[in-house]
């Protein structure tokens, strides 16, 4: 019986104009996404490779003395994700790199073109397609599933057979699932085909497994949207009322909740402006200078001599300021992250946003990808700094006094050359499938729970639905 119902649903939907429009739109979006992704990926890789080569050259040029290496500022860039076509994650508005040396680390920066004259826009990636297009298609396919058939009088006829209502719901759900999933899978294959033709990108087993897992989550998202349509359809007697309700639900879930979550987050976790923080930092530094026993005297004749007490006090002052700057900046960034995390959590009240952030997690792009990059960049800085400190400690000629004043401090640390190949290099490592699962399992479970809830809701209401 279920098979018959699915076949009936397929016959009713497959050769309709809306199916043709849906397929055309999906295929077009997927084609554009594939082509633009290739272009972006190649441009991003060129930029990353150029910066990596410049860093390699910089390290080689400064490797003649450890002290030169300490002052050499490396650029760390998050390389473009090979799965960026799943979710771009508003990469255009987010920073993608930073600069650092032994003494300092710069705030995150944009090592890519960022047009501030553009109003914010969405990339045509898989998440966009699913959140804005396919969810809407699901609505258009399912809004009249029960109420429409009731209006036409066919629902009464169907149920006059010995057909359990649960089976009818499943028949509708699976039939519509196939109708929506078919064009999506077709577009997906075309997209992957285009990506496969990119000579600069080879998708490895990891990527294929992630793609497979994401396709599964996408099916869950489609099912959730269809179930929402079925629930609303079983709640109303007229198709036009279902459409009305669904339209409002769609705007609420896809536009309003994601659009206002950040406002509440801003109230819950206040973050001062950059200007306020700059003033606060300047006050702190004045405080450090006042409270510490530092000296700012300097004579050029002290260079090359063992450090005297004044030099040590000068170095201590600069070290204290540098340490405070890094700590202060990190605390400010942590506060910003905390606020954004809260906004993300609130946005996830909508299953649409929930799915969007699952997409970002899978593609390792966007805000979540950036946080991962920041964590790795910090680990790298600790590693490379430890390497430099060890090298300096091994040198018996060094006075082991390192501070951030190249014109004054260069003779107080090790002058020995360093083998460039031995210097730890930054390499961004994307998350493995198990890491992705660990980080997004709750989101996927919540999405699954949404499906269960909507199915239970549909079943409960449809059981009591007056089919006449």
């Amino acid at each position: 019986m279920l098979k018959t119902l699915i076949e009936k649903e397929l016959r009713a939907q497959l050769f309709t104009p809306r199916m043709a429009i849906t397929t055309t739109v999906i295929v077009l979006i997927m084609l554009v996404n594939g082509l633009i992704f290739n272009l972006r990926f190649n441009q991003g890789m060129t930029k990353t490779n150029r910066e990596t080569a410049a860093t390699t050259q910089g390290l080689q040029e400064n490797a003649s003395s450890l002290m030169s290496l300490l002052f050499y500022e490396q650029t760390l860039i998050k390389q473009p994700s090979p799965l960026g076509f799943i979710a771009n994650g508003n990469e255009d508005v987010l920073p993608n790199g930073t600069k650092m040396n032994y003494f300092t680390e710069s705030p995150l920066g944009h090592f890519k073109s960022q047009n501030r004259f553009f109003s914010r826009f969405q990339a045509l990636d898989w998440t966009f397609l699913l959140v804005y297009v396919l969810s809407f298609v699901c609505l258009a396919f399912s809004y009249n599933a029960f109420s429409g058939e009731k209006e036409q009088g066919t629902l009464k006829l169907i149920l006059s057979n010995n057909l359990p209502r649960g089976t009818l719901i499943l028949g509708k759900l699976f039939g519509l699932m196939i109708c929506v999933a078919l064009p999506f899978l077709l577009g997906l294959l075309l997209n992957l085909l285009i990506v496969e033709f990119n000579p600069h990108l080879v998708l490895q087993t990891r990527e294929w497994l992630i793609l497979l897992a994401f396709t599964g989550v996408a099916m869950l998202f489609i099912a959730m949207n269809l179930l929402l349509g079925l629930l609303v359809s079983s709640l109303t007697a007229r198709a036009s009322h279902s459409l009305n309700l669904l339209l409002m639900s769609w705007i609420l879930l896809a536009v309003i909740i994601p659009g206002i979550s950040w406002v509440s987050a801003r109230k819950m976790v206040p973050v001062p402006s950059e200007k306020v923080m700059r003033e606060r930092y300047n006050r702190d530094v004045e405080q450090i200078y006042e409270n510490g026993d530092y000296s700012w005297s300097w004579r050029s004749s002290w260079a090359g001599q063992p450090p005297n007490e004044t030099v040590r006090r000068r170095a201590a002052g600069i070290q204290a300021t540098d340490a405070h700057r890094i700590q202060f900046y990190r605390a400010y960034q942590a506060q910003r992250f905390k606020q954004t995390d809260r906004a993300v959590t609130l946005a996830k009240l909508s299953p649409f946003s929930l799915f969007r952030f699952i997409g970002e997690r899978f593609s390792d792009n966007g805000y979540l990808g950036l946080k991962r990059f920041v964590a790795q960049a910090r680990i790298y800085r600790s590693t490379v700094n430890q390497f430099y400190t060890d090298r300096d400690n091994q040198d018996t000629d060094s006075h082991h006094l390192l501070w951030n004043e190249p014109w004054a401090s260069s003779t107080f640390g090790s002058q020995r050359p360093v083998e460039p190949a031995s210097i730890p290099r930054f390499e961004y490592s994307p998350p493995t499938l198990s890491e992705i699962w660990q980080q997004s399992q709750w989101d996927i479970l919540i999405l699954f729970f949404w499906c269960l809830l909507l199915f239970a809701g549909t079943f409960t209401t449809f059981i009591r639905y007056d089919v006449r």
């Binding site: 809306r18 739109v25 554009v32 633009i36 272009l39 972006r40 930029k47 994650g89 508003n90 508005v93 987010l94 920066g109 944009h110 090592f111 890519k112 073109s113 960022q114 047009n115 501030r116 004259f117 553009f118 109003s119 914010r120 826009f121 969405q122 045509l124 804005y132 297009v133 809407f136 258009a140 009249n144 429409g148 036009s240 459409l243 009305n244 339209l247 409002m248 705007i251 536009v255 309003i256 994601p258 659009g259 206002i260 979550s261 950040w262 406002v263 987050a265 801003r266 973050v271 402006s273 950059e274 200007k275 306020v276 910003r336 992250f337 606020q339 954004t340 906004a343 946005a347 805000y367």
Partner: protein, 505 residues
Amino acid sequence: MSHFNSLLRHELRQQFHSLKFLTLGAFAVVFGLLSLYVQTEDYKSRKAVYDEEIIKAEQQLNEATVYSRLTVPIIVPPNPLSPFAKGVDDKVGNRLDINPLEAPHFKNAAQKQNPFLDIFEAFDLSTAVHILFSVMALFLVGDTIAGEREAGTLKQVFSNCILKSQYFLAKYLGTLGVLAVPLTLIFLIGALAMLLDPLISISTSQWLTVLMIYFSSVAFVSVYVLIGLALSARSSSAAQASLLGLMLWIALVFIYPNATRYLVNNTVAVPSSDEMAAEIRTIETQIADEVQAVFPQDGPGPASYNWCSIGKYNLASIIGATHRQVFEYHKSAVERGIPVALDGLDRIYQARLAHKRQFARQRETAMAFNRFLPGQLLTESASKMAGTHYTSRDLQILEGAKSYHRQLTDYIRQKGGFGYTFFTQMPETAMRTRLSDYNGDVLEAYLPSNYKNLNLEDMPLYTPTSRALIPRESLIDFMALILINLIFFILGGLLFSRSDVRARH
């Protein structure tokens, strides 16, 4: 005429009492007011930072003791109309420091609190109207003609002596009138809240701008009502018309604009900011070399200073006391170096401007594809009227700052500021051959920390470029909206006049 009036009354009554209008209308009012509230709060927080910045800037300006240290900050206030149309108001920088040795450019927006929140959509009122009222219009009119045809009432209506044009006009005006109610409510309540807020000050001319944004919004809604009517006239059923309308809405509001911007953003290449910074560094190095090349050949000789700071391009920034010969050397370096540096600064300004123009071109290319979209016309015209469009908020201010930089350098030149007073307050008569020739009181008196502040009473002040109340470009967008209205009115009317009033089976 009486038929038309009854039709209009009937339409208004029917729409006002429909569940669709009541639910969607309430939804739209809540969302519209929420957007306005959010953006007003954002404006107020930016304004608070701006007020503090202004106080600091005045202090900074009054602290200048030599002309090399004279920096006039231009701080752009947040736009009180940004809740209606935000444009690029909080995206581009808000501060330019006008200094003789710096090419004017926007510094990062210090008012920004958390750039990571940019991943979320922030709706101003024009965007909220764009998204919500378009769908409301399509959805409300979707089933009017098709629904009446389906129900058979259309045939009955035309059994009386009613013209099709009267019927079409009544439907159009009725729906537009109904939609104008929540729209007007949002504008009225929003405007009233802003008027009563002591932290927001909006001038009379700005209220006129708000009124114009309101008219643009009505014209925008009208386009979608006409599109909806045209679809309804051609559709066989109400559901089909509504569905077609919604599909069109998704395409016009989400798919097409995002697709074109995404395409253009990734195909029209513009150098990144770090590449631009590298280019500026190269020019700076060239300028430093060029300035160095015109310095006096003999050099300052062995110099000792009571206080000295060398600034940009190796020009003396501040000197307390030194040998007369060294003073003369630095004066000569400033006199020869400044014209060369100013030429160089012009190159930096032009390079930055060219970079910005590339971004502007990229944006305009994307806009060219969207020019016919009613939503695009609404948001563009609203931001142009409000003064938050990138041309008025960024490029024009930058040009104004450049011309002020010229005025400031002329002023400094007139004051003899590109001579000794560029870096010292010690008069020529007090200068001595050797540092040891100065007595302790003179050295103390001319320590930079004891310098008096410059008298800047006659210094020209920066005046922002005056804007027309309603800029011509925004009027063009507004007229384009009217033209689209006219086209769809004719098209809808034609489609309806040729359609069958009987139900299609």
